[in-house]
Symmetry: C2
Subunit: 382 residues, 2 copies
């Protein structure tokens, strides 16, 4: 972390505010600062996912040490277990999980559509059965705001229908209109001061629908805007071309957040296109599956070639894992299904993603983002 | 940790040596120091188990922070995976797992008898099939020393047959004689300088056989003596009465180690009887099963009563877990099967055991061990 980044952690109790401090002259990349009630975030920022009130296997102190500025909490999971009422009663999600930096919460919509059973969508909201115990629930725009406010979120997201891919134009259109209506109701029902509410632009792979989404949501007016539905199976080129089309349509002065993305290459491309925020399970989930991110790409620690390899995951990497452990040890832990394997792998991957973002911010700051991109790609072993 | 204990960690490269510094006038409890090539251990000491080159879920730094002075590595597991040859080639177990304090290794015998399949015992050793892949192996006294020396153990244990409970006198007698013969061969085959080799007294529940074991092993001569077979199912009273009989027979000037024990009450009683060392999976395994040790006994974190309990596991406990997390959060993590649950529970339990041992040492030092025992039992909610 830079001194600026360390300082950011001490700026608390600020209302939500976004400020752009540098712009790349070679691309749409920009450097900014988001103030939230729980401190400042330097953008472009990557948000590790803490689904069930924990970034799997790590403590908050470890996350801070890795330079994590903000984490994501999943409304669907926390609503079902332990319940937003319980968390609210105990002082909110920050206190519950001992994390005092910013938290962004999703609306729960994505998990309702991807995890829950027997979904029934109406104008009112979506009825679903819990994947945990089959109990029936109704998630509405008003309900997701109630939950996110009980959790004490710093950045709340509107309920949307994440349009599946592929979808016809007609399906995408009606899905978009539903999301727009829900977004309006989310804004109307919010009551918390200080925290932010972001709108989510859907529209599947249709540029005119994406433009329609931007127009409708900006007319309602939010504190920031997200692109949804870009990580649901479309080819990478299509995803990037849609982001390239839509990102410039969003208000320049507000944060632009691409949800559910992605791999390091995606982040580099999307920062280049002007995106400010990202969240994804890739660094953490892939770590638990033994995939480790390095300059040249990835390595899978279960590979037999690492059995007696005394080198660290990445030579010169300053993360805790690389400073103290060999690939041979990490492979052993992974093969033996040891809990420490998840931890050490996660530490390395989160460090990789945080360093990538920090390096991109530094490149924008110094006006050499294109040079950064060139070096980034030159190191990849394709 | 006391200043003395912190200082201990910096005394390295000493050959094995045991010194008694205080004796309780009210019991057989004694305070001592064991020097090893990887530093000093204050006794009585509890040894957390690091089966597969890791104390499950924790880093070495966390173990040090908890006051752990020495850990146990399981020869059977490490021989099968990743292999003592691999660990030896990579610089030994300490370097492999990034732990620079003392390591005690068992002989592998206990796991051969409890985990492996198709065992066949002969005078030569024991043939067994790996529980991992069914491969066939022969463990002999010479082999266990070869493995433990390759691992770089500070305290090695002799191969013994852990006599099952119950066993007839005849079975126990022949099992004891086999263990004595194997112990002799272990001593003859050792080559490492500096590290220690302990003999293990078997003899099941027969006092005369235990006495015979002590006599035979002390005639061979070891650096310390362990009582084996006390944690294999005998009633607690019988276990304690056998320990009370056997411990005083062991050489007063050498460490006395009770293997595989135990619960806090067992440790208090056995320290009182003059035992200096213990190892057990109870603090770590029970943590992963949600059982947490507190002054009054135990609490099971999955209990519904903790769902919205904002109190720490134990009021006033200075461990990381109790300083930052509520029972409600720990219950949530446990119910959600989160990896962090294992970690936070293990931290608390290891802290409990380390604090218990430290308090017992302090009580012996100050000549008030009986007062300590009285207070310990008065807090239990029986």
């Amino acid at each position: 972390m830079t001194i600026d980044e360390i300082f950011c952690c001490y700026i608390k109790n600020m209302p939500f505010k976004f400020e752009i401090t540098h712009r790349s002259s070679e691309s749409n990349a920009r450097l900014g600062k988001i103030d939230t009630p729980h401190g400042r975030i330097e953008t472009p920022a990557f948000i590790p996912v803490g689904t069930q009130a924990t970034v799997k296997s790590l403590t908050p102190e470890e996350l801070c040490g890795l330079g994590v500025q903000i984490i994501l909490g999943n409304t669907y999971h926390l609503y079902l277990r332990p319940g937003h009422d319980v968390i609210g009663k105990l002082g909110g999600l920050h206190r519950f999980m001992h994390w005092d930096r910013p938290i962004l919460t999703d609306s729960g919509g994505y998990q309702v559509f991807s995890l829950a059973r027997l979904r029934k969508i109406s104008d009112e909201g979506v009825t679903f059965q819990s994947h945990l115990d089959g109990s029936s629930h109704l998630l509405t725009p008003e309900k997701t705001i109630e939950i996110q406010e009980a959790l004490g979120s710093d950045i709340m997201m509107c309920l949307d229908e994440c349009t599946p891919y592929p979808a016809t134009r007609a399906e995408s259109r009606s899905s978009l209109e539903l999301s727009i209506d829900w977004a309006r109701r989310c804004k109307e029902s919010r009551s918390a001061e200080g925290s932010a509410l972001f709108g989510i632009v859907q529209g599947s792979m249709f540029e005119d629908l994406r433009a329609r989404g931007v127009e409708a949501l900006t007319n309602i007016g939010f504190d920031g805007y997200a692109l949804g539905g870009l990580s649901v199976g479309a080819p990478k080129e299509l995803m990037l071309s849609l982001a390239a089309f839509t990102l410039p349509l969003l208000p320049d002065s507000l944060p632009k957040y691409v949800m559910g993305v992605g791999y390091p290459e995606d982040l580099v491309e999307l920062v280049s296109l002007g995106a400010d925020m990202f969240d994804c399970v890739i660094p953490t989930r892939n770590a638990r599956n033994g995939q480790l991110f390095v300059r040249t790409g990835t390595l899978n620690i279960c590979n037999a070639r690492y059995q007696d390899d005394n080198a660290p995951v990445e030579e010169g990497c300053p993360c805790y894992t690389c400073r103290h452990y060999s690939r041979a040890y990490l492979r052993h832990l992974f093969m033996a299904k040891e809990l420490l394997a998840c931890r050490l792998n996660t530490i390395h991957n989160v460090h990789y993603f945080m360093a990538l973002m920090s390096n991109m911010r530094e490149a924008v700051r110094l006006g050499r983002f294109e040079l950064f991109k060139k070096e980034f790609y030159s190191q990849r072993a394709c």
